[in-house]
C-alpha cells in the first residue's frame, strides 16, 4: 500500500538516474568525464551502507534473564505488563501474602497512610506517583470471634494505586519476603475473596 499511494522520492529519483547513466555508459562506451566529478557516492552504495549498519545493530532482548529463571523478586521481568508488589505480612496469627498495608493512625488522611506504607516497605526516597486522593478499592473482613470486641468487629482495607517512577530500588531494604507479580500470577498467592476485590481495580 505504501508503494501504491506515493510518488517517487528524491532518493529514488537519484537512484534511477544513476542507473540510467550506468546503462548508457556501458552501452555506448562514453568517456569518463562525468564520473569523477558528480557521482562519487552512488545512491545504491548509500543503501548498502545503511543495510550493513542495520544488520550490525542488536537490540536488547525482550525476555530478560529474570524471566528465564522465573525469579519473581526482580523488577526486570515481564517487561510488557505491569507488576504489583506483594509482601508477606503477619495479620493476627497468620502470615499472609498481601498488598503492602499499614494501619491507619487517627489524624492523618488516607493518602498519607498510603505514603507511609510505601516508605516503610520501599525505603524513604522512593519516587512514586499516587493517583489521586480517593481510594481505588476496598476489602472488608470481620475478625474471627476470638478477637472481636465491642467496637472492632472487623476491618476495612482501602487500596490506593501508585506508579513507580524510578526503577532503581537498590536503596530499598525489604526485610520480609516480597514479590513483583503480574495480574495473572496474583491468583497464586492471594486468597479468593481478597483476590476478587483486588482484581476489580487492577488493570493488566
Amino acid at each position: 500500500i505504501e508503494l501504491e499511494k506515493s510518488h517517487y522520492s528524491d532518493h529514488e529519483i537519484r537512484k534511477l538516474e544513476e542507473e540510467e547513466q550506468l546503462r548508457r555508459r556501458k552501452e555506448s562506451m562514453h568517456d569518463d568525464d562525468d564520473a569523477p566529478g558528480k557521482t562519487v557516492i552512488m545512491a545504491q552504495d548509500l543503501e548498502d551502507k545503511w543495510e550493513q549498519k542495520l544488520l550490525r545493530f542488536e537490540a536488547a532482548p525482550r525476555i530478560t534473564d529474570a524471566d528465564k529463571n522465573n525469579d519473581r523478586t526482580s523488577l526486570n521481568r515481564k517487561l510488557d505488563s505491569n507488576l504489583m508488589l506483594l509482601v508477606k505480612q503477619k495479620i493476627g496469627n497468620e502470615e499472609l501474602w498481601l498488598l503492602p498495608q499499614v494501619e491507619w493512625q487517627p489524624g492523618e488522611t488516607l493518602r498519607s497512610t498510603a505514603e507511609r506504607a510505601m516508605a516503610t516497605f520501599l525505603g524513604d526516597h522512593i519516587q512514586a506517583k499516587i493517583l489521586g486522593n480517593a481510594p481505588h478499592g476496598i476489602y472488608k473482613y470481620k475478625f474471627p470471634r476470638a478477637i472481636r470486641t465491642e467496637d472492632n468487629v472487623g476491618a476495612k482495607v482501602f487500596f490506593f494505586k501508585a506508579f513507580l517512577q524510578s526503577s532503581d530500588l537498590s536503596q530499598a531494604e525489604l526485610k520480609e519476603d516480597y514479590l513483583w507479580v503480574t495480574k495473572g500470577e496474583l491468583g497464586d498467592y492471594l486468597k479468593s475473596e481478597y483476590l476478587k476485590k483486588v482484581n476489580r481495580f487492577l488493570l493488566d
Partner: protein
C-alpha cells in the same frame, strides 16, 4: 544650510564687484576671510521658520500614518496558510508517478478479509477496555461509600482534587528495553519552521 547659500552668493557677487574697482578690502566687518563666508554669516531668520514648518510637517505625517493604520486594521486579517495541507509544487511533477502492475483479484480479496478481521478485533478490544473502565469506576464508588460510612472527615479529604496529579507524564512503551551502556550519536537540531503573523 540651503537657505544660507543665496545670501552667501549675494555677498560674494558684491565682493567681486568691489574687487574689480578697488584694492581687495574685507567688505563686511563680520567676515574674517574671503573664503570663510559660509561659517560666519549670521543666520537670524532661519531657525524660527524651521520650527514652525517642521512641527506642521510632522503632525501632517503622523495623521497620514494614523489614517493608514486605521485602514489596515479595518481590512479583514489574512488567513495563515497551513503548510502541511499544501503539497509543495515540486511533487506534482508527472515524472514522479510510479508505474505499478494492477492489483490481482486474490490480493484485493485478501485485503478486504483482513480489514474485516481487524474491525472485529478492534471492536472487541474497545468493548473490553470500556468494561474495564466501568468496573474501575464502580470499585472506586464502592470504596468511597464505605469510607463515608467510616468517617465523614476522611471522606471529605478523599474527595478533594489532587493538584499535583496533572500534568501527568510517563515514558511511552518501547518494543525493546534500553540497551545498557548505549551511546547515541551526537547531532544538532535546527528548527526551520516559518512563523506567520497576522
Amino acid at each position: 544650510s540651503k537657505a544660507v547659500s543665496p545670501h552667501a552668493l549675494c555677498s560674494f557677487v558684491f565682493l567681486s564687484s568691489w574687487l574689480h574697482q578697488t584694492v581687495p578690502c574685507r567688505g563686511s566687518h563680520w567676515q574674517t576671510s574671503l573664503l570663510a563666508f559660509r561659517a560666519s554669516l549670521p543666520v537670524r531668520a532661519q531657525p524660527k521658520k524651521k520650527k514652525k514648518v517642521d512641527v506642521k510637517r510632522e503632525q501632517a505625517q503622523k495623521d497620514r500614518m494614523k489614517k493608514k493604520i486605521k485602514k489596515l486594521e479595518k481590512a479583514a486579517p489574512e488567513l495563515i496558510p497551513i503548510e502541511d495541507f499544501i503539497p509543495p509544487l515540486k511533487y506534482s511533477d508527472s515524472s514522479r508517478v510510479r508505474s505499478l502492475p494492477p492489483l490481482s483479484f486474490e490480493e484485493s480479496e485478501r485485503r478486504v478479509l483482513l480489514l474485516k478481521k481487524w474491525c472485529l478485533f478492534k471492536q472487541k478490544q474497545d468493548k473490553a477496555e470500556k468494561q474495564a473502565i466501568q468496573t474501575l469506576v464502580e470499585a472506586q464508588q464502592e470504596a468511597l461509600k464505605e469510607l463515608r460510612l467510616e468517617s465523614e472527615e476522611l471522606y471529605q479529604a478523599a474527595i478533594r482534587r489532587d493538584e499535583g496529579l496533572f500534568p501527568f507524564e510517563r515514558d511511552g512503551p518501547n518494543y525493546t528495553p534500553p540497551l545498557p551502556g548505549y551511546d547515541p550519536p551526537e547531532g544538532k537540531c535546527v528548527d526551520i519552521t516559518k512563523v506567520y503573523t497576522q
